[in-house]
């Protein structure tokens, strides 16, 4: 394929080449010589998911350089053949087909977001390719036995994570007795919202209002009026991106501030820095604090990420679960290849199923339903305009605890 073919835009990152190696730390060696191992994948470099794909792209570039600095895959340099799926599952499907059949890549990496992942997974299954992804929020949809999750959602996050939130809520004084559940109809958010309502009611927390809005909703005025009228003790928002900011602003225009609120997938920087963001809760798997920074490679990856994200003009250049997810994808693939001592998909998959892999998320297993291991979804809270892990207590940042709003 020639470069610059419209939708099939290609970004090739040869480890050891150009600026990448200039920025590489001293501990890394030059990329190994030899014919590159080509790893293909797509990201939503344009379209409505592009803001998150920009994060994944930077993390992937860092990891390709890291791995090449560690001798690549089986002594060969790796080359990441990255195409733009335009945030469209049908484009993702065509591009994975092309990567496998035309570009003849050796291995593939998963795209971003549930819908493109599902599209890519179908192609991977057809050609017997292993696929690793980090952002499928509905694990039960991952039915292909050679698909592996890099992010520890656990097999049933709609049951496990609401209970993490309810456990944390129970420690507040007074403990919230009622909750408004407000969610985008974006599939993974809606899935978690339904779980939140079910688990809350099971544990005696009333849900007087359950509202769904279309993804991309423009005006939150009427929704805010309903949330205010319900006046529950806790607000749970299945939000994406800046929706949380918009909802909290709409509430403030009505002179209402929820006592405590949780936000599922917000844009982390804008919410932390917003005047409405103080003490809000959100989901995470790690933050750049201890104990997470002591995990292998984490400190170096976080530093590189900050440097690159700042250079790329990203407004929130701090590593979080999005970038970490992509880093984990590559760590799993690297350990799978090295462990299996092979580039054969079936052998890598078999090795991963039998072994524990260490990623930025800690030791990771793939021995549960849908190849998921144990869930490790945490709660973070905005404190002094920074996200801090506050729950579970044993993973809270040093000296930090959950503050009642």
């Amino acid at each position: 394929m020639s470069k610059g073919m419209g939708a099939w835009r290609r970004r090739t990152f040869l480890g050891g080449a150009l600026a990448g190696m200039v920025a590489a730390p001293a501990v890394l060696r030059a990329a190994p010589p030899g014919k590159p191992v080509r790893v293909g994948g797509t990201l939503s470099l344009t379209g409505f998911l592009a803001q998150t794909a920009a994060i994944h792209k930077i993390a992937a570039e860092i990891m390709v350089e890291e791995i090449n600095g560690r001798d690549g895959f089986l002594g060969r340099p790796i080359e990441y053949v990255l195409l733009d799926d335009q945030s469209k599952p049908d484009v993702a499907r065509s591009l994975y087909e092309k990567l496998i059949t035309v570009d003849k890549v050796d291995l593939i990496q998963g795209p971003y977001a549930t819908a493109p992942i599902l599209a890519a997974m179908g192609v991977a299954q057809r050609y017997g390719k292993i696929i690793i992804q980090s952002s499928m929020g509905i694990p039960k949809l991952q039915t292909y036995d050679m698909a592996f999750p890099a992010t520890p959602f656990g097999p049933e996050p709609d049951k496990s994570y609401p209970n993490v939130i309810l456990d944390a809520m129970a420690t507040l004084s007074p403990a919230p007795k009622s909750m408004v559940v407000l969610t985008s109809k974006f599939p993974s958010a809606q899935f978690m919202a339904q779980g939140m309502r079910t688990e809350a009611e099971k544990r005696g927390v009333k849900v007087p209002l359950f509202l769904e809005y279309e993804a991309g909703n423009r005006d939150f005025g009427a929704i805010a009026a309903r949330v205010k009228e319900a006046n529950a003790d806790f607000l749970w928002v299945g939000s994406l991106g800046l929706e949380s900011n918009q909802i909290l602003e709409a509430l403030r225009k009505l002179d209402y501030r929820p006592k405590n609120s949780f936000h599922l997938y917000p844009a982390p920087g804008p919410l932390a820095l917003s005047p409405d963001g103080n003490l809000v809760w959100s989901s995470t798997f790690l933050e750049p604090d201890e104990p997470f920074m002591s995990r292998p490679g984490m400190k170096r990856i976080a530093e590189h990420y900050k440097e690159r994200a700042t250079k790329a003009n990203l407004p929130y250049p701090i590593i979080d679960a999005q970038a970490a997810g992509m880093a984990a994808q590559w760590q799993i693939l690297e350990q799978g290849v090295n462990g299996a001592k092979s580039l054969e998909d079936k052998q890598i998959a078999a090795w991963l199923k039998k072994n524990v892999v260490t990623t930025v998320y800690g030791p990771t297993k793939f021995d549960g339903p849908y190849n998921h291991g144990a869930p490790a979804q945490l709660i973070r809270q905005v404190q002094n305009k920074e996200w801090k892990v506050v729950w579970p207590k044993d993973l809270a940042a040093p000296g930090v605890k959950l503050i009642n709003g």
Binding site: F48, A53, R218, G221, A225, G241, L314, P315
Partner: protein, 283 residues
């Protein structure tokens, strides 16, 4: 059953949100109705103006009320240039859809290249100010937006009705050849109207920067509803665009309050279908 306070608040929110629909529809309606050009790039121009407002506000700390003095004339010039392309290549109504769509895509990519695809939010100290009237809260920024939209719509309506230029434009839209026989220079007037439409996109963009979330892909978020507003309000009718915007905004908001927020997008197109079938004479 929703309370009267909830319904009243929803109505206020909806009418004010409709002000934005009306403001965005204004330029599009003029271009479509009087020039027979369906300018899809109107949304991209509005977002370009929004990003410029954001940039001037966050990087150079220029208040949006000042930056609009630069942005609106700049948009007017862009409108003129755009019309030069239409004129040069004799673009008709159908071709204008394709050409302006391409222009919008190019602008979207350019915005993404410069500002990245990440969400941008222009925080100001007045973005969440409200006035309390009885049990209701009226957001100040949205109120200003509505007033500006109202002034522009009334002003444009009067201009089209009462001035020679306005009458000439309407005459050209009806029958360009007959209008030309009476000495109307449609070409010059079309440039003026194209610039004006783009300038209105600039005004809308300034408010978008203050009220909404900025991301390049958001350019397309307003397209459906604003098209419905333009059609409901009748092509080339500035007051119609404003009232239709408010009607759609209020209908969406009441649906959110009474039914479910997820019903809101259905409402605008349902209203469109009902009005097209009913075809009321509001002239």
């Amino acid at each position: 059953m929703p309370s009267a306070t909830l319904l009243g608040q929803a109505l206020i929110s909806g009418v004010l949100a409709g002000g934005m629909y009306g403001l965005l529809a204004l330029g599009l309606s003029l271009s479509w109705g009087l020039l027979r050009l369906v300018n899809l790039s109107h949304f991209a121009l509005a977002f370009l103006a929004a990003y410029l407002t954001y940039e001037m506000g966050t990087t150079y700390h220029i208040d949006p009320w000042w930056s609009v003095l630069v942005i609106v004339p700049a948009m007017f010039v862009i409108g003129l240039l755009q019309h030069w392309v239409f004129d040069r290549f004799k673009v008709n109504e159908l071709a204008s859809l394709l050409i302006t769509f391409s222009f919008a895509v190019i602008l979207e990519v350019a915005i993404q290249l410069y500002w990245t695809a990440d969400y941008r939010r222009f925080e100001t100290h007045y973005s969440t100010l409200s006035i309390k009237v009885g049990a209701f809260y009226i957001p100040v920024l949205e109120l200003i937006l509505c007033l500006v939209a109202g002034v522009l719509a009334w002003g444009t309506w009067l201009w089209l009705r009462k001035t020679y230029v306005g009458k000439a434009l309407r005459a050209s839209a009806e029958d360009a050849e007959i209008a030309a026989a009476y000495g109307v220079d449609h070409k010059k007037l079309a440039y003026l109207l194209s610039g004006l439409g783009a300038a209105y996109a600039g005004v809308a963009g300034t408010f978008i920067a203050l009220i909404a979330t900025l991301a390049p892909a958001q350019i397309w978020a307003w397209l459906g509803v604003v098209f419905a507003v333009v059609i409901i309000g009748r092509l080339g009718n500035p007051l119609g665009a404003l009232f239709a915007g408010m009607l759609i905004g209020a209908s969406e908001s009441i649906a959110m309050a009474v039914l479910s927020p997820a019903w809101a997008p259905v409402v605008s197109f349902s209203v469109l279908i009902v009005l097209l079938l009913w075809d009321p004479d509001w002239s």
